[in-house]
């Protein structure tokens, strides 16, 4: 029996922040006698991380941020009973401080073109019915019944869709190669091993809209001629595992997996393969080894996996985002997709915004967006009004782009030319209080742990580059080190066995290219311009601003600050361990770093 609700509340982003929010809401709704009128739904990730938990009231489109259980009574009272907006719970525009109540007016969302994320936060991801209700599995039907694999390949090629896993390989060509590969038994695989430390869009997609991935997978299997699929997700990503597992069961129940799908005669089923998470585990050959039950170790790709993949058979591996786009292209056509983005990079990219940015979260925007637009329009700019220093894109494999490139449109080619890479769209914004050298060192440290250790160049090369960078951040660098880094970096890039090694030097090489002066400051002046490298900085009290409140003195763990009440305080450099607590605690910005 269909029930008509007059309002739906879609709640997203609960996790650690407010686990009781939904029970509270439901209880309040019942208490206010609205049980039959208002429905509370746990929707998937909406991508507005810094503002969570978020709540969307449909059909009005009222959007509340940072909702806590304590807010519930007022919310229900004002919005659901009286139809009014609770201003304090709405988004506040950073510069004008204006309150924006409606979802579609919020720049973070209005500037986005959500294709991959089209359903995220708008449906209950654990309901296949809701997915179908918003048009899900229509594309599958169209593909299986009225299109041939060749036609689908053609459509994908024309659309210009490139793999969203980082390499950007044209999906149409990959599936064509898979189709043409020799062999009766073929496989399609889903790469759910999101490895970049600052990326979370794959996870969001798997948890918020699992069926879109499945739909793309089944279409892919049909094109390639595979009857068995594997979805590889690290065991540790329990939310994604649970979500995809439920989706698989539901799809099977509805006959969308198994024999004779939708009466087309096509047979296909998929299962989860869980592995131990590692950064290198997301590399295609390493992933395939893990599916086979072996160690996640890559092999040379002279012969592509579309010819020789798991168990020696043709295998097509795609990222979750790529697969979720496919049904849309089938439904809306290659021309539609081709109309978005740039000449070489069609469609949209899901960026995860992190670092020194106001709107931390996921933003899907057309390819070709400039850095300036992404950072300031969509991202809401740099907090505390600080200056933009660099955009780091591509995760540990990517590079740094300076302020001089703020107006550069971003697509696969422009980013590669600039010494960086698109990667999976993980973006870190650095302001003037971050040290580029230290950040490069951080990525190298990450890569040192994540290297599988098979090939000499990656394993030893990263270790040695890290050793140099560490010395530089500790003030023990030499000018000759920069040439060594360049040489070493270029060799490691060209000689390593897999993508991890081949891109590991990127952070170093790109920072050397654009921020050589910062390196020189570390080496020659023994100073850290960003005020980060502990060995090279000094915390001091700005006399004009200090009013002697003593907050810093009380918090200093080393008792390095001395001063009388209401008198200017002083930091003893000999005792100071540069933890930065005083800097954080001072309400008057009286602590300086030099």
């Amino acid at each position: 029996m269909a029930e008509r609700y007059r309002a739906d509340i879609l709640v997203s982003c609960l996790h650690d922040r407010a686990p009781d929010l939904i029970p509270n809401l439901k209880a309040e709704v019942i208490r206010r006698g609205l049980k039959d009128e208002v429905r509370v739904i746990e929707a998937g990730c909406r991508g507005f991380c810094s503002m969570g938990p978020v709540l969307l009231v449909e059909p009005n489109g009222i959007f509340y941020i940072g909702v806590q259980p304590a807010d519930v009574p007022e919310l229900v009272e004002e919005t659901l009973v009286k139809g009014r907006v609770v201003e304090r719970l709405t988004y506040e525009e950073p510069t004008t401080h204006a309150s924006i109540a409606y979802y579609e007016d919020i720049p973070f969302y209005s500037k986005q073109e959500r294709i991959v994320l089209r359903h995220c936060g708008l449906i209950n991801p654990q309901s296949i019915d809701e997915y179908i209700a918003v048009g899900g599995y229509q594309a599958l039907g169209k593909a299986l019944i009225s299109m041939t694999p060749e036609e689908i390949i053609d459509e994908l090629k024309r659309s210009g869709l490139r793999g969203r896993g980082g390499a950007g390989f044209p999906t149409g060509r990959k599936w064509e190669a898979g189709r043409k590969a020799e062999g009766e038994t073929k496989y399609v695989l889903v790469n759910g091993d999101e490895g970049d430390p600052n990326c979370f869009m794959d996870r969001a997609l798997m948890e918020a809209d699992p069926h879109s991935i499945l739909e793309g997978l089944i279409i892919g299997a049909y094109v390639v001629g595979a009857h068995q699929g594997y979805i590889y997700i690290p065991y540790e990503h329990s939310g994604s595992v649970k979500s995809m597992r439920t989706a698989l069961e539901q799809a099977r129940d509805y006959g969308l997996l198994g024999a004779d799908i939708l009466g087309s005669g096509f047979e296909f089923d998929a299962e989860l393969r869980l592995g131990a998470h590692s950064f290198v585990g997301g590399e295609s050959t390493a992933l395939m080894h893990a599916v086979e039950g072996k160690v996640s170790e890559p092999r040379p790709k002279h012969i592509h996996t579309t010819e020789v993949g798991i168990w020696g058979r043709p295998s097509c591996l795609n990222n979750v985002k790529t697969l979720s786009i496919v049904p849309e292209i089938i439904s809306r056509g290659a021309d539609w997709f081709g109309g978005i983005g740039t000449e070489t990079s069609k469609g949209t990219q899901v960026f995860s915004l992190a670092g020194k940015i106001n709107n931390v979260g996921l933003a899907e925007v057309p390819m070709g967006i400039t850095i300036r637009e992404l950072v300031f329009d969509v991202g809401g700019g740099i907090p505390k009004g600080r200056e933009f220093k660099a955009l780091q894109i591509g995760g540990p494999s990517g590079g740094f782009l300076p302020a001089s490139l703020l107006d550069m449109p971003m697509d696969y080619e422009t980013l590669a030319d600039a010494g960086s890479m698109m990667g999976t769209g993980g973006v870190v914004i650095l302001d003037d209080r971050t040290c580029v050298v230290d950040t490069a060192r951080y990525f190298l440290d990450f890569l040192r742990d994540e290297s599988c250790g098979k090939c000499t160049s990656c394993r030893e090369g990263i270790r040695c580059m890290l050793e140099i960078l560490t010395r530089i951040t500790e003030g023990r660098g030499e000018v000759a080190d920069l040439d060594t880094l360049e040489t070493l970096g270029h060799v490691v890039k060209s000689v390593s066995l897999c993508g991890l090694g081949k891109t590991a030097p990127n952070p170093v090489l790109s920072t050397l290219r654009y921020f050589r002066d910062e390196y020189m400051a570390h080496i020659e002046d023994k100073k850290c311009p960003g005020g980060v490298c502990k060995a090279l900085i000094e915390y001091y009290i700005i006399e004009d601003l200090c009013n002697g409140c003593g907050a810093c003195r009380r918090k200093c763990p080393e008792a390095a600050i001395s001063g009388e009440k209401k008198e200017v305080h002083v930091i003893d450099p000999a005792l100071c361990i540069k933890c930065g607590i005083c800097f954080d605690v001072c309400k008057f910005d009286a602590v300086g770093v030099r």
Partner: protein, 589 residues
């Protein structure tokens, strides 16, 4: 068949070959560390990097893994390649600064010092994976694997704990390019020690072996051991010898073949074996690697041996003083009473060789110098003139001193004093004896053995090559100790007697056979079971026993046993023997 261009030269590649294989086959040098022709290429060390140009794009690729496709252009020594190899060697040297093979390779590319600090300067393992792959693909024991990742990666058995899966074959030790793996022999499974040091399980006993082909010791061979250990589940481990043999001469499935030949003459030439001096502890054999037997000395001195003929101590130094002790196990009531005949002369020869090759002082402890042959006495004199000290007195004891030197004690009968001499090497001239299976051979051919254990000849003076069994002859040391010229003569005699026998075509057999008087035979069948040659058969139709004269040897057992007196032994009839007896006691008339 594919065509590539390597360093400007056109070369051809077979299906499935890699660039490295084609390059090396055409004389191009490419350094490798983690490559082995019998293992799947791994691509870990990155040293075999070459520049590969395909469809206009140039990339650095590992030649060991990259297929040799048609139309590739390859550069093995372009500036980019040299630079890459130099950096990689610098990285390897920074990991393992004290490994000689890496130091040498690095030096070739101009690196004298590790460019980066080492985490562990004593590190030897370069994580090439050769040991892992050998243990997995060839030996199939699956003992070794990688664990942990990145710079923490290391090789070892599970949890780095000793495991009984390891069969102690030593393959990993041999294949490791840096010597990072040691095999602890005492704890290894079966590890055969061939003369003067372990060898591989397939080996040619010596350069003068006849036939001069390798043999596989199935107790040491990995394939057979794995087959046994896993009860046939792993039946195809290793087999590297078969893979590399171009003649395809190795067949693991050979079975013992039982061949039946009907022959009329047999020459027993089963030779001798060396007596084991460990049986008399005073010689301390086995307590020092520098106490060797005369036979082991021969292996050492052979130009095809492990030292290429140089006389060296176990640690590779040349000896300065050598003692040779005669009669070890011969002329000894605690071992063999007989004289082994050959030792005196070969000991003199060995003394001469030691003097000639090393100039060391040589002391010969002898009892009597048996220089019985042509030129032998003259040789003895010559050796004395070469300065070999002859001490007339049995070398009684060899003591291993704490510093490794060997003290030989004996009596110098000429001086009438006990003497001792400290030497670096002792050679024991050990007795030769009948082979350990002489009993079985004797039983086969009905041979008896003399007191010394060798096979008994028909008559010590008159019939040295014949035995009491007709048609069976003895040749060489099977009959007793003798040296080469005597063996040649002896064997020639046996051969000619055998030929003479065979040449006859028809042979006259002894007429002294048994014959049944069928009138008297009572068909009791007593005789039939008694005959050791099954020469008597019972003829049903005639109800009598009948002797096959060709089989009957004339022993007469049946004759004595026949209750009816129906069998007669020709030429040894009852009447004849009784007549003899009577003849003894007849009183002359």
């Amino acid at each position: 068949m594919a065509t590539l261009i390597i360093d400007g030269q056109e070369v051809h590649a077979e299906e499935g070959q890699t660039i490295l294989e084609v390059a090396r086959a055409n004389g191009f040098e490419i350094p490798t560390l983690c490559y082995h022709p019998q293992l799947e290429p791994y691509g870990a060390c990155r040293l075999c990097i070459v520049e590969v140009i395909r469809s206009g794009r140039s990339r650095l690729e590992t030649s060991c893994t990259h297929p040799a496709w048609d139309g590739l252009e390859v550069k093995t020594r372009s500036p980019a390649v040299i630079e890459a190899r130099r950096v990689i060697l610098g990285l390897l040297l920074s990991r393992c600064p004290n490994v000689p093979v890496i130091q040498e390779l690095a030096l070739e590319y101009g690196i004298t010092e590790p460019p980066f600090p080492a985490e562990d300067p004593e590190e030897k393992c370069i994580l090439c994976g050769l040991c892992v792959r050998t243990c997995h693909e060839l030996v199939k024991a699956d003992v070794l694997n990688f664990s942990q990742a990145g710079v923490e990666r290391r090789v070892g058995p599970p949890f780095l704990e000793k495991t009984r899966q390891c069969i102690g074959c030593g393959a990993c030790t041999i294949v490791c390019p840096t010597g990072a793996i040691e095999i602890v022999l005492q704890q290894a499974g079966i590890y055969k020690e061939k003369p003067l040091g372990p060898t591989a399980a397939i080996w040619v006993p010596s350069l003068q072996a006849v036939p001069n082909v390798p043999v596989i010791d199935i107790d040491a061979c990995i394939r057979f051991r794995q087959n046994d250990r896993t009860e046939g589940e792993i039946a195809d481990a290793c087999g590297v010898c078969q893979m590399v043999c171009e003649a395809g001469a190795i067949n693991f499935d050979q079975q013992d073949e039982v061949v039946e030949l009907a022959v009329g003459t047999v020459i027993v030439a089963t030779g001798f074996q060396m007596w084991d001096p460990a049986q008399l502890s005073q010689y301390s054999y086995g307590k020092s690697p520098n106490i060797i037997t005369g036979m082991e000395f021969e292996h050492l001195s052979n130009a095809g041996g492990i030292t290429s003929g140089e006389i060296l101590l176990a640690d590779g130094r040349m000896p300065e003083r050598v003692a040779i002790i005669h009669c070890v196990g011969s002329r000894d009531h605690n071992a063999h009473k007989y004289c082994s005949r050959i030792c005196c002369m070969y000991s003199l020869k060995q003394a001469h060789l030691v003097r000639d090759k090393t100039g060391a002082d040589v002391y010969e402890f002898y009892m009597d110098m048996r220089a019985f042959g042509k030129g032998y006495e003259e040789f003895y004199e010559r050796v004395q003139e070469e300065g070999v000290a002859m001490i007339r007195g049995r070398g009684a004891e060899v003591e291993v001193l704490p510093d490794g030197k060997l003290r030989v004690k004996g009596e110098d009968a000429n001086l009438g004093r006990l003497v001792y001499v400290d030497v670096d090497m002792v050679v024991l001239s050990t007795a030769i004896e009948a082979p350990h299976d002489a009993n079985q051979v004797a039983a086969l051919f009905g041979l008896s053995r003399s007191e010394d254990g060798f096979f008994a000849e028909a008559h010590p003076k008159m019939r040295p090559v014949e035995t009491n069994t007709g048609g069976v002859f003895l040749a060489g040391t099977a009959q007793g100790p003798r040296d080469v010229p005597d063996t040649v003569a002896h064997a020639g005699a046996a051969a000619s007697m055998a030929l003479a026998l065979m040449d006859q075509g028809e042979v006259t057999i002894s007429p002294a056979v048994a014959v049944v008087d069928e009138e008297l035979c009572s068909a009791c069948k007593t005789c039939i079971s008694l005959c050791p040659y099954t020469a008597i058969s019972f003829i049903e139709e005639d109800n009598v026993a009948r002797v096959n004269e060709a089989l009957c040897k004339g022993c007469g057992t049946c004759v004595a046993a026949c209750p009816a007196g129906a069998i007669m032994a020709r030429h040894f009839t009852d009447l004849q023997i009784l007549a003899q007896i009577e003849g003894l006691f007849r009183v002359p008339a």
